[in-house]
């Protein structure tokens, strides 16, 4: 990296804010709309102060009416603007599925390419401190299913900034998947604006025994699992796809071709999920050429319980990921699970929201 490029530690939420702010500075068509974007919390800091910097025309609160407001964002995009529609919880995006699937995703195709919908729709997956069944859901796989939508779920602050800038500059509707547990995680982030290559995964750790693909917050847990495994003599390759649609299946496949094992750890349920899709695409490419072992991990297939003892069982963590990977590498050995403490971002989080 060139020394002239300045970087410093930013949290994930600061990185999203900086990417948004830099795009709003260089393109007057970019604006932010969503419930509470201009309030004292500023969407956990990700929209903090934008209304003061750019005025209430370019960062404004909206009625509690998700479908109508996403429709407004789509209409504004049709008129040549570049809206960012913010949802503090991913669960609320369910209320505007009609606009997202039937209108935003379809317009460019259905109208023969005569219009385009440059739109970013942000949704944060909640977790912990009793978020419960309706504040913790992860629906990225729904959107991976839909032609016309792009889906990005960065896990690291540096990727969050680049992905935000790429999403804003893209001429299609982009679903930007965030995670509440990521917001306070720090990473070194470049000051200047930069993009994330759309559809390009990042190999975070090199390894040769097993490929672990993490999604969103599970990237962080997979990196911790990597450490457990390393201490136990297993070399895991950890990949963050970053973009779920389009998906960098080539990078993942090449890794599995090398390791012979794939474990996909999702921030979501398994049936018809991102893990199912990634696994299947790898199998389709490698079957008949290479013997591989494929497994998934993710939410237990129940709604998310509120009480902590049950919630602890609902999510994968670095210990369960490491244990599953160990058994995939050594199927005949006695099962092993490292002792791990609860991740700091989860322990520290005390809500209330």
């Amino acid at each position: 990296m060139s020394t002239s490029k300045k970087s410093r530690l930013l949290t994930y939420s600061q990185a999203i804010l900086e990417g948004t702010q830099q795009e709003m500075t260089q393109d007057e068509r970019v604006f932010v709309m969503g419930q509470g974007v201009d309030d004292c919390k500023g969407t956990v800091g990700t929209t903090m102060g934008l209304h003061q910097m750019f005025g209430s025309k370019r960062s404004f609160d909206v009625p509690v009416a998700e479908e109508g407001m996403l429709g407004v964002a789509i209409g504004a995009a049709l008129s040549g603007l570049r809206p960012i529609n913010v949802h503090i919880r991913f669960d609320f995006i369910m209320v505007c599925m009609n606009q997202l699937i039937n209108m935003a995703a379809k317009s460019h195709y259905m109208f023969g390419g005569s219009v385009q919908i440059p739109l970013v729709i942000r949704g944060a997956i909640g977790r912990s401190w009793g978020q419960g069944a309706q504040h913790s859901q992860a629906f990225h796989s729904y959107f991976m299913h839909i032609p016309g939508l792009k889906v990005v779920a960065p896990a690291l602050a540096s990727d969050a900034k680049g992905a935000m800038i790429s999403a804003i500059r893209d001429d299609n509707p982009v679903v930007f998947v965030e995670h509440r547990m990521l917001y306070n995680l720090e990473e070194s982030v470049l000051e200047e604006p930069y993009t994330s290559e759309i559809g390009k995964a990042r190999i975070l750790r090199k390894g040769h025994d097993i490929t672990i693909v993490g999604i969103s917050h599970m990237v962080i847990e997979s990196l911790r699992a990597h450490k457990h495994l390393e201490n136990h003599g297993i070399s895991a390759e950890v990949i963050d796809p970053i973009w779920l649609s389009p998906l960098d299946i080539d990078t993942i496949t090449a890794s599995v071709e090398k390791t012979g094992r794939l474990l996909v750890v999702d921030t979501g349920w398994l049936p018809c999920g991102a893990g199912a899709e990634i696994s299947m695409q790898v199998i389709e490419r490698l079957q008949g050429r290479k013997q591989i072992i494929v497994e998934r991990s993710g939410f237990v297939h129940t709604p998310c319980p509120t009480t902590k003892p049950l919630e602890n069982l609902f999510y994968p963590n670095s210990s369960t990921i490491a244990a599953q990977a160990f058994t995939m590498v050594y199927p005949d050995a006695k099962p092993w699970m490292p002792e791990g403490e609860e991740a700091e971002e989860i322990t520290k989080f005390k809500g209330p929201f």
Partner: protein
């Protein structure tokens, strides 16, 4: 002096041209439909043309309209390209959506006819967002959003009215109340049958228009358009009308027995195509009709001769 003579001959000619053109295009669609050259659902506007024509008469080219799956009349009234519309109905490459939209998804951005939706009410919030875009950019254009009485059942209709009023956006809402959502009568669906009252709740000035008179509609919508252009915020027209044919398809539907023939009698008597026709001198009338018949014949020929899309087109325009 009779009231009819008060209207300028040019206006009568223009309105008759636009009305007859839409009526004739749709009658040609009815004629062609049994031959199966149009392989997609058509929701015909016959009987409802005067609302699109009357309101669009007061618009400039750079004003924007959004409509519904019953969109032929609006598309043509706003100046949409007829050849492209016919080719679209035929599923051809030269269609306004390259054959990927069909009758329910007409669009012509060159005249600011910005599209329609087959999912009831879904384009209302888009229209409001487009109006937000105009205000954002400081333009003095306006948006007109057309929808049916069925759309007023949807939550997004109410959400859109609220936001348009909250932000004082330059938009005219036009509710074409034909009393039926497919076969469901308004009184079976809504606790409030005076639909303009929904707009009043959101502090939007309204007018309910229960008659057929296209000149009165031109005057009323023209006055509202002027107010909106001068910063008066959203306005709302509830226009009573009647669909002559079945909800979807080219036929009458009296044998379905969800409505009675008596309902249509006054609307047919007041048909504005006939009324305007009678206001014109025979020669002028013939000239207009001849011109349109030639234009429509040419459009049908254009559609027939246009190629179908190729396999490569299937994958085009999923993403920009």
């Amino acid at each position: 002096m009779s009231k009819q003579q008060l209207y300028k001959e040019e206006l009568i000619e223009k309105l008759y041209h636009d009305m007859f053109r839409i009526r004739f295009v749709e009658e040609e669609i009815m004629r062609l439909y049994p031959s199966d050259v149009i392989k997609s659902p058509v929701h015909l506007s016959i009987g409802q043309e005067s609302i699109s024509v009357g309101v669009c008469d007061g618009l400039a080219k750079d004003d924007t309209v959004f409509g519904t799956y019953r969109g032929h009349a609006l598309y043509l009234a706003k100046g949409g390209n007829l050849n492209a519309m016919m080719a679209e109905l035929y599923g051809k490459l030269d269609g306004c959506c390259s054959g990927k939209g069909g009758s329910m998804h007409l669009i012509d951005p060159s005249v600011n006819m910005m599209g329609t939706s087959a999912v009831v009410a879904s384009s209302i919030s888009e229209a409001v967002g487009y109006a937000l875009g105009i205000k954002y950019k400081g333009g003095n254009q306006i948006v007109v959003c057309f929808f049916g009485d069925g759309a007023t059942d949807q939550g997004v209709f109410h959400e859109s009215l609220n936001f348009a009023s909250l932000k004082k956006l330059p938009i005219l809402f036009v509710c074409e109340n034909n009393n039926y959502a497919i076969h469901s009568r308004l009184s079976d669906r809504s606790a409030q049958e005076n639909l303009y009252k929904f707009a009043e709740v959101y502090n939007i000035p309204t007018h309910v228009f229960k008659e057929s008179d296209i000149f009165k509609l031109c005057d009323l919508s023209g006055a509202f358009i002027k107010k909106i252009r001068n910063g008066g915020g959203p306005h709302f027209i509830e226009a009573y009308t009647y669909r002559w044919l079945e909800h979807v398809g080219p036929q009458e539907d009296w044998d379905f027995e969800y409505r009675s023939k008596e309902e249509i009698a006054q609307w047919k008597k007041d048909d504005q195509v006939d009324r305007l026709k009678d206001m014109l001198k025979p020669l002028e009338r013939r000239n207009i009709e001849e011109k349109i018949k030639n234009e429509v014949a040419a459009a049908i020929k254009f559609a027939e001769q246009s190629p179908f899309p190729n396999e490569i087109d299937l994958f085009k325009n999923v993403y920009k």
